[in-house]
Amino acid sequence: MDHPDFVEIRKEMRRQKLSGFLNRAMGRHLHRRRILRLLDELDAKYGAPSPELMAEIEADAKRIFGK
């Protein structure tokens, strides 16, 4: 398995795996940013949730998801 072709193939597979991982991570990041931008826009239109409401939701989420 030390044939130069195999070494090259392994190198290319590692590169593609990393590239796929980075693409997926970038996609998730951009998607998250788009949703947060939409929420900012709706907050500007209707008024942001109060800090009390956000604290209530965070406490509820902590009970439900354990974090």
Partner: protein, 137 residues
Amino acid sequence: MPTFADHVVLDSGGLSALLGSSARARGWLRWCKTSAGTVVVPVSVLVETVTGHSGRDAETNRVLRVLTRSGRISPVDEDLGRLAGKLRYRARADDGIDALVAAEAVRTLQPCVLLTSDPGDLTTLLTDHPQVTVRPV
């Protein structure tokens, strides 16, 4: 089977609340996205939210495009249909759309929050699934 971590499912009332003035709906979505969670819109929700009229649907479509850019409109497949049927039968319920939304929330077997404007019927459908928490918005 999807394995979304920390997911928030919207039914049609939840989506309408988000399009309207519900600070609670926006608060839950903000929590979800800042916690790297996933927003799931079951495809059955479209039945109750779009009209086929591009003008009337413009705002709904715009929000759906943002929410589902990474393909999180969950399609109905046979497994989901069968799970929905089971939930509907056990709850002696009539509403197939609600049953499909409930099934979407149940199918990952992970903790999940289901946002709705009408928690009564969904809570009944989900009686045997304490990992799903129904929250009114």
